[in-house]
Structures are given as C-alpha cells and as structure tokens.
Amino acid sequence: MDRLRDKIVPVTAILLGIVAIWYVGAYLMNAPFQRDLDRRAGETPTFSEFVAKTMTQPKPTLPAPHQVAVNFFENTFLRKVTSARSLVYHAWVTLSSTLAGFALGTALGIAIAVGIVHVATLDRSLMPWIIASQTIPILALAPMIIVVLAAIGVTGLIPKALISTYLSFFPVAVGMVKGLRSPDMLHLDLMRTYNASGFQSLMKLRLPASVPYLFASMKVAVAASLVGAIVGELPTGAVAGIGAKLLNGSYYSQTIDMFSALLAGSLVAIMLVMTVDVVGRSVERAMGARPS
C-alpha cells in the first residue's frame, strides 16, 4: 500500500503528465506545417479535424505518442526478427556489441583496479590519469576507432565492442579501486595476524568486500557501453543497429522511426541496468547482505 502511494501513483501521474504535454507539443509543433498544407490545398478544416491532422502526418516534426507506439509495436512484434526493418533485429545488433564490450570492459576494469591497489607505482602512475580521463570526452574517439579499424579490415562487431569496452572500463576501474580499498583497518590487521599472503587477502577479503561497489559501477558501465555501441554505429553509415536506424531516420526525416528507435534503445538500456541490478541484489543476498 505504501509503495502504491509513495511511488506508483506519483510516477504514473508524472508520466501521464509528460504524455499530455507531449500531445500538446505535437499539436503546436506540427500545426504550422499543417496550416501551410491546408492553405495550399485550399481546405479549411474545423479545429478538431485540424488537430487530428497534426497527429497523423507521415513525417511530423514531433510525432504524437500513439504514432510512435504504433510504429514501435509494428516494427517489434509484427515483423520477422530477421527482417532489416525489425527493431528487434537492430536492438540485437547493438546489444551484442554492447554486451561483448561490457564484459571485456568489466574484466579489464577489475584487473586494472587490482593492479592499482596492489602495486604502489601503478597507483601513483595510473590513478591520476584514470581520474583525469573521466573529464575527457572519450566518445569523440568513437568515429576514429571505427574508421581506422575499417581501414585495416576490421569491421562489424569488434570495433563497436572496443568503444564499449573503452567506455565501460573507466567506471569499473574507479569503482573497484574504491571497493578493494573499502575493508577497514581491523579486517586488514586481522589478515595480517593470520600471516595471510597478498593473494589470500585479495580473494578472501578485498574481493568480497568490493562486490557492492562492483555492481554499482557495473550499472554505470553497462549504460555507458550501450551509448558507446550506439555512437559507434553512427560514423560508418552502418546498416544495422539502433544508431544506424537513428542515422537513417535523420537522413530521410523519418521522425517516427527515429522516436521508435530511441524508445527501443531506452528499453534496452532499462533492461540492461535492471538485469545488473537484479543480479547484484541476488549476489549480495547470497552473500548475506541484510535484506533492506
């Protein structure tokens, strides 16, 4: 009951409000063009006819929510998943490179964090750069990676996955450095009284202690991975993927297609973050975290 009152009702109300504003916006933004059309055709529709017309343009400036919903539904459920017009197909293309890059990036991030925590030289050499690199618009590298790798004959999933790797390893590395350093002095002293080796401390203390940090940073990383994969699909005029769908839409002013591609991308993102969240929660529960 509390959940209903505190969360579901307000969120639904705000979402409905957004849809309402969207409809008003669609009317306002599509109206000038529609007025122009009507004037040329010499028609004088009533207000309600006019409103209906602004909601049914084939290439509206701002498509109405139901137009996007219909387009999304058709391209998701009514087409064969192997069809080039199926959103499932495009989402899968993007998702596969996202996941490959995310897995690689997470592994790399953990490895770097372990190195930083255990080797003082690495800590002092690398850590400032890892922090500084967070302030750098890394995504600007994406087109170059794609084109340069294409120039030496590497195309398809790998270049996109590399961009995703690049984007996802930073948050994981930073989060894991924090996590691996999170055990308090008491626990570290305890390991010392057992004369535990560095590797034993890592496996039995530092890694388990860093699990909450790992999943928190993986949530950021998986979202960044997806952005990397989408942007990676932009520069080459890739034929498949959510980014390619967006680019095509913008070439031919297919706004409805663009919005449903965006919707697909957002759903993939939410699905990915929620998956990481659920896995994280169940791992933490298995490790005895107090249920909240």
Binding site: I14, T121, S125, W129, A140, V148, A151
Partner: protein
C-alpha cells in the same frame, strides 16, 4: 628470502658511483650530434648491457623488499641522457634496420622510468614537499614514458600513419592548425556547451527546488530522473538537429537535456542532506521555508550540486561533440573529427581529441576549484 650475494650487488654505495660513471662515460663517447647517432664503437655495448642488467636487478630487488641505496638521481640523469639519444636516432632508420644497441637502450629507458616511478612511490615520497613533488612527477613521468614508447614503436616499426600517428606528428599538427582549432573550440565549447550547460543546470536546479517543495512531484520525478540517467539520451541529437537547425542551438539543446537530469537528481538528494538536528534548530527559530532553504539546506546541498556540475561538464562536452556528427556548419570539433576521419587525416583527429581532452580537464578543473572555494567546510575538502 634473497641470497646475501645478490643483495651485495646493489646494496652498496659504490654501485651508485658506478652508475654515474657509466652515464658520464657514455655521454662522452657517444657521437651525440652526428648521425647515425647510436652506432658508436662496438665496445660501447659493453657499457649498455651491464647498465640494463643493473636496472633490472634493482627492480627485482625492490620487489623482493630489499633495502636500496638512493639511486633516484642516477636514474633520472640516465633518462635525461638517453631518451633524447633514442629519439634523435629514430630519424636515422625509419623502417630500416635499427642501429646497434638501439633496442637495449630503449628498453633500459623504459625500465629506468618504471624504476624511477617506483622509487618516487616509496615511503620517503609520501609526505611534505617530496610528497607533493612525487604526486605530480609520477604521473608525468608515466605519461612521458608512454609518449616516448608510442613515438619510438610507431616510427621504428613503420606503423601506418592512418592507424596511429606518432605523437610528434600530432604535436606538429596542433601547432600548425591553431586558428582552425580555435574556431572549432569557439563554435563547440563557447557557444554550444556553455549555453546548453548553463540552461540545463539552471533548469535542473529550479525543478529540483520545485520537487523539494511538493512531495508528490518529488516522488514522481525522482525515479524517472534516476532511470533517465541510464538512457542513451545522446540519441536525441538527430532530432534536435532537425528541430533547431545545423548551428550551435541544436547542440545546446542536446546539452540541456543531458545535463538536466543529473542536476535534478543530485540537487534533490542534496536538499535532504542537512541533518535532523540542524533542521529542528531552524524550526525552533520559527524560520520560514525559504530562510531554512537559503541558510541551511542549500549550503548543505552544495557538495551534491557541485558533484552534478562536475558530471555535467563531461556530459556537456560529449553531447555537443557527438551532436555535431549529425550535421553542422563547417566548423566545430565534432564536425572536424567526422570529416577529417573521412579524409583519413588522423593526425588532425588526434589533435582535435587532444584539444577536447584539454578543454574537458580545464572545464572540470575550474568547477573543482569553485567547489573548493564554496564547500571549504566539507570534510572531503578540509581533510585535504
């Protein structure tokens, strides 16, 4: 655990003297200024190889935890002497066979840099002015080593220019294209990023205050705001380009949307940061909502707000640059990157990325400085 014999090899002061001697001798006898530089008389390998062995030995001993004489100065001098030799002799053999001793010298340089960093990471360089010095020197040495290896490897192995240009070529390109780069920075950063950043952050802040006033709004907006931060917002770029045209306005619009939600979420979280005791205190004064807001809750929220400002500085740059991939007038950093990539002028792309990195760091740095000034009372700042 190490044998006493091995310890003796590096554990005495005469080793240091020997190191200096080798360096001075090599400097005297290398034909530094005439090509082909490194191909001096054959007996010099007699000097180089023990030097390499010495450095490796010192590294191994360090990781075995043996005490060492202070060799920082010697290693530093060695780097100063040999790195220019290695770099200048590159001109002699682009793609040809390397001069005698070349790779051993390069390896000695890289290892010596590692050793120097290792020494500078030791307990002696943790506090005081030495600590401050090491804090900057270590990452600097690390990055110079990377640049050095990048330059040497790319040129020695004739890596295709398209794949990876040497850093020197990028440096030359930056120096030769300053006007173009300046115009791009002006278009992308001074117009699109700043306008969008200011509007997005301000809007996020205002909505956060509203959400704070009205509980219902807060409960509805916060989950949505948290969720949106995971979405690929950058995908709205082509739509914004369609709506607002090719010029900077469309990029600013992307930046507004990207920066709005982090600001909203962080400010709302920050406004709950003031403690119960302090809030009760304000209640005992019968202070009004706005008085409490300005005197207590906003100051307490500042660390959160600055966190959002910092996150947004990076997001804004990314947003503006990527939005330019979808269409711009013929100026702008994103435009330059995408067109020069098409023409295979990768040195220009790298130059643009270097400038973007610099701009991003400066932007972030300025905000971080402002944060230090505003939230000087916060433990994370006070504690140093």
């Amino acid at each position: 655990m190490s044998t006493p014999r091995k310890m003796n090899l590096v554990d005495t002061a005469f080793q240091r003297v020997l190191l200096f001697l080798i360096i001075i001798l090599t400097l005297l006898f290398y034909p530094l200024l005439e090509p082909p530089y490194l191909s001096g008389p054959g007996w010099q390998s007699v000097l180089i190889l023990p030097l390499l062995a010495y450095i490796i030995l010192v590294l191994v001993q360090r990781y075995r935890g043996t005490a060492l004489p202070p060799v920082e100065m010697g290693v530093g001098l060695f780097l100063l002497a040999y790195v220019p030799i290695c770099l200048s002799s590159l001109r002699g053999f682009d793609g040809e066979e390397a001069p005698r001793n070349y790779w051993t010298t390069v390896a000695a340089c890289a290892l010596a840099a590692w050793l120097l960093n290792d020494l500078l990471s030791g307990p002696k360089y943790r506090t005081g002015w030495r600590g401050t010095f090491a804090k900057f020197a270590v990452p600097a040495i690390f990055s110079l080593t990377l640049l050095f290896l990048w330059e040497v490897l790319v040129r020695a192995f004739n890596v295709p220019f398209v794949l990876l240009p040497p850093p020197s070529a990028i440096g030359v390109r930056i120096a030769n294209s300053l006007p173009v780069l300046a115009a791009d920075v002006n278009q992308t950063i001074f117009k699109a990023v700043f306008a969008g950043y200011a509007m997005g952050c301000a809007a996020g802040f205002v909505v956060a205050i509203l959400a704070d006033r009205f509980l219902f709004l807060r409960r509805g907006l916060l989950p949505i705001g948290n969720m949106v931060s995971a979405l690929p917002i950058i995908g709205i770029a082509p739509i914004m380009v369609m709506w607002f045209g090719f010029d900077w306005q469309s990029k600013a619009a992307v930046v507004v949307v990207m920066t709005f939600f982090p600001m909203l979420v962080n400010t709302v979280a920050g406004l709950t940061a003031a403690g119960h005791m302090e809030r009760d205190l304000m209640r005992t004064y019968a202070s009004s909502y706005w008085q409490t807001l300005f005197k207590l809750r906003l100051p307490a929220a500042m660390p959160f707000i600055f966190n959002a400002l910092k996150i947004n500085s990076t997001l804004a740059l990314i947003g503006a640059i990527v939005a330019e991939f979808f269409g711009t007038p013929v100026v702008g950093m994103g435009f330059r990157i995408s067109t020069e990539v098409g023409r295979m002028n990768v040195d220009m792309v790298w130059a643009e990325i270097a400038v973007a990195a610099l701009a991003g760091s400066v932007f972030y740095g300025v905000i971080a400085l402002a944060e230090r000034a505003v939230t000087f009372w916060h433990p994370s700042i006070r504690g140093g």
